[in-house]
Symmetry: C3
Subunit: 388 residues, 3 copies
């Protein structure tokens, strides 16, 4: 046997492990440097949040089963990667009023390196004609706890994985199950996510999913750049249009900076994979978000270079859609149709670049895909990408 498994949560059998540490010792000395640690946070706004921290010896990341299998933080060579959200989470869903009438309650829990937005909807809140909330900002999946969590270690390949099952169900409305697998290998600076979303209902349904992947210092700084093989780019609104000339570079922190959002279509390789790079000003560190554009055809870039205290941050966001109101996106067909019992798979990876050399290689990969493709850079928001 090469794959060893530990179940941390399983509501079906009543299993819940509050604390567990797995190390090389548990594998007879194999995979030295490995450590997987499950804890349950206590106190304050994080009371009851489960954390599974996976350390492959080089890179570590913390998964939050209680918050829909989001990634709280990552660490490369001991340095924290993520951002400093003013909500200072992680925040347990019980303290996030995600369905409050304005639809913006989700922002009280927004703290993660990677947070999924979906599954019924994501994007700006939408209201019915009487002003009643219909779709809250970014949906509910980030505030649903996993019903099942499992850790596995393959002591031959060195693969470490956390798998969680999160459900988004409302009787008479929908019955969705997301099985999320987050994995890495010993010594890598790369992590992979594979999410399968199943429609458990006897009727067809529609799904949206967007990965809100957020970086602040040290990857984001004044002069940082965003690079991706570009087919098309469009500012979301007038505010974003103001910054079109510098849409792919980042300014220093600025108190009161109003966010700018750009919608992108990327060039992909034959398998549909497309890399999007964020690198620091010096070009010595960076991260590539690899997303499969067959599954996640829309890419959103969110620039929020506000004061550090308010969350100096940028979001690289591959999605099934742009984060416009749900009905608008549905009209443009930017939703995933799932037949009864049907499923869709979404894949992406985060690759951290710890050196100038590796940043350069990442830039070259992007340049190779860009070669021969002239990007269509739109200066103004236009339908059907934007609610113009």
């Amino acid at each position: 046997m090469t794959v060893k498994k530990w179940t941390l949560t399983d509501v079906a059998t009543g299993l819940q492990v509050d604390k567990l540490t797995i190390s090389s010792q548990d594998l007879g000395g194999r995979l030295p440097g490995l450590e997987i640690r499950k804890t349950t946070l206590q106190g304050g706004l994080r009371d009851g949040v489960d954390v599974v921290r996976v350390d492959n010896g080089r890179m570590a990341f913390a998964v939050l089963p209680t918050r829909g299998m989001g990634l709280w933080k990552a660490w490369l060579d001991g340095q924290e990667i993520g951002w400093q959200s003013p909500v200072r989470g992680p925040v347990h869903p019980q303290f996030v009023p995600w369905m409050e009438p304005s639809g913006l309650g989700w922002l009280e829990g927004f703290d993660e390196l990677l947070v999924r937005c979906g599954l019924e909807s994501n994007g700006a809140p939408e209201f019915d004609p009487q002003g009643r909330l219909r779709y809250p900002l970014h949906g509910r999946i980030a505030n649903r706890p996993a019903q099942r969590v499992e850790v596995e270690v393959d002591d031959e390949s060195g693969e470490l994985a956390v798998t969680g099952v999160v459900e988004e169900s409302r009787f008479l409305f929908r019955s969705l199950r997301m099985t999320s697998r987050i994995s890495t290998r010993l010594g890598e600076h790369h992590l992979r996510i594979r999410d399968e979303v199943e429609n458990l209902s006897g009727s067809p349904t529609e799904v949206q999913l967007l990965y809100h992947i957020n970086f602040g210092l040290p990857l984001l700084d004044a002069g940082s750049r965003f690079l991706a093989p570009l087919k098309k780019m469009m500012p979301r609104d007038a505010r974003a249009a103001e910054g079109v000339a510098t849409w792919d570079v980042y300014a220093a922190e600025e108190a009161g900076f109003a966010e700018q959002v750009y919608f992108l279509e990327l060039v992909a390789d034959a398998q549909g994979w497309s890399p999007a790079l964020l690198r620091n000003a010096a070009g010595t560190r960076g991260v590539t978000v690899h997303a499969n554009t067959n599954q996640l055809p829309c890419f959103t870039l969110w620039k929020n270079t506000a004061a550090a205290a308010d969350g100096y941050v940028t979001g690289l966001e591959p999605g099934t859609n742009f984060p416009n109101p749900r009905t608008y996106e549905g009209r443009q067909g930017r939703v995933v149709q799932l037949a009864p019992g049907g499923a869709a798979v979404f894949q992406l990876g985060l690759e951290f670049h710890p050196s100038a050399d590796q940043v350069q290689k990442a830039e070259q990969a992007i340049a190779a895909l860009q070669a021969g493709v002239t990007p269509d850079v739109c200066p103004q928001p236009l339908a059907p990408w934007c609610v113009a």
Copy 2:
């Protein structure tokens, strides 16, 4: 002493027992087969839900103090009775957005064999003229945890009972206390519920209560029948009127089936008791809901023969009212008036029929009450029963 008591929860004295098992051994060998087990579920959407499972040797049922003393499931001769809700609960109230603006958040926790709807209101959500939620679907009592829970065993009569005290209070608005006692006797296939609702306020108030009692497989199947001694029947709306000719028989599961609801008045015996039977197609199994019509004069039959995956289910629902919007029901007087310090008692029973013989007896009991009464079967919804 013949009655032995165990307190499981008592907020007044700070008592909370997380785990307890009571068996015949604890009674000096009396009542063999008895088992009462208290657990607290952990993980996922059920994290923190208390369950008290009472097994009388023949039949068992699971009470959920955390969800307003609802009944999660029952088991007869080891076979589960209930239904397969797509919400896959039980769901802790912290994950049920029961006051979200649409008023339908209750559906995210709807999973039980028996769930109480009330106490301020039940039925369809109602909004003020500006579209603001005033009464959420089915009220809040199912999402309130018991402040006190007690188990008692009478080793002479063989009676086993769980009693819970659940409060529904809002300063300046209402102060209600429900003391719910759920009991059975050793070896029976019958359970009884006695709920007393007190108005603790110094001012008069009004109360509604409906027992949403839900069955799927194995009691519900294609060809199952509903039988009750009928005074009057009326379809709730146009959708229900479509099915009037077959209102008391059940079809096979059908994806996308839109629910049909029928409002009934039943014939009762001299004490006010009236039986309502659901039996399977073969007539080999069934359940009678016994309700006291002096306390619960309105009976609602809910047919939701949707796909199994979406909850193939029917609800037999004795209530103080029909589940129309609160204001409409109030205007028809279908509410219970409680003076300051006043109380009302609601009684019902669930009797499971494990054989054709017993199903037949249940049918005969209904026929005896029906004898000489010609039911008034209305083909269309009409005021004042329906919001026509």
Copy 3:
């Protein structure tokens, strides 16, 4: 070293102490009579609420870190001081729908002797033109758990203190931190509160804070009086205007009594301190609320002499503002401006009077401040104090 500290909660380091008792023994026999006890309540609506009870040998009080460092109850010479709320709390925030569409959900958790209302807003709920909730009744701070809690004992001065850090943050909206210190000295019948509210954001912000300090029996009875050095008094609305002639005396409990609210400006000493006294009819017991009017210039008196069952209670409420809707108060400038990184301190004290003699002294202190100041008693509500 004379000051000894115990950390009870610290999310930054993952520390959470569920149970702790500190007594004179822990101080080598010093400060006899002292007892500080930390517990976490279990079961029902209070499940998970942390309580820190501080007993100085004469007076005790219970702090609720889970409810924004509110004071649940106090005890003087063993007699409970507070009021009997029909919500029978303390209620864990997970059961308080404080953002439900009507904006009144806060009332489901309202149970304390002292509850803070703020920090973004307090007062009556306010809605946008479409009827969507913008500011819920009394804000959210009372339903936020402390991120850090610490107890300290000075074995020289005999000072005992509980300090808690509570945050009110929403990404893109605000980032506030309240550090609340509640202290007393061995043998005193006096407690002091010092709250510092910091604006952690890089942008300026506005804050409101009102201390809703509530008393029922034994301090409030038929014939109880309110006394304070008065500059100006105004009834909030027509209902309060009905009672202007007797605004400072209390009637016996009366079922269905509709609350009356009076807005006051008080005379203060050179340091800004002003006392407000509630004493019982016999003049044998009382409490003075000392507030610093430089920080808390507005004083609200809430009379709710309803039936005991519904909460026979009065509120003495020093605040930065009157509890009118947020926008109205903002227009009158009754908010605290905080620069980026800025902070404001709010100080008050509760002094209990256990004898006629001490009540008289408290009355004399008020009379001395009143001397030479003729109060402006307005018989009707008028702008800009009231939404006239």
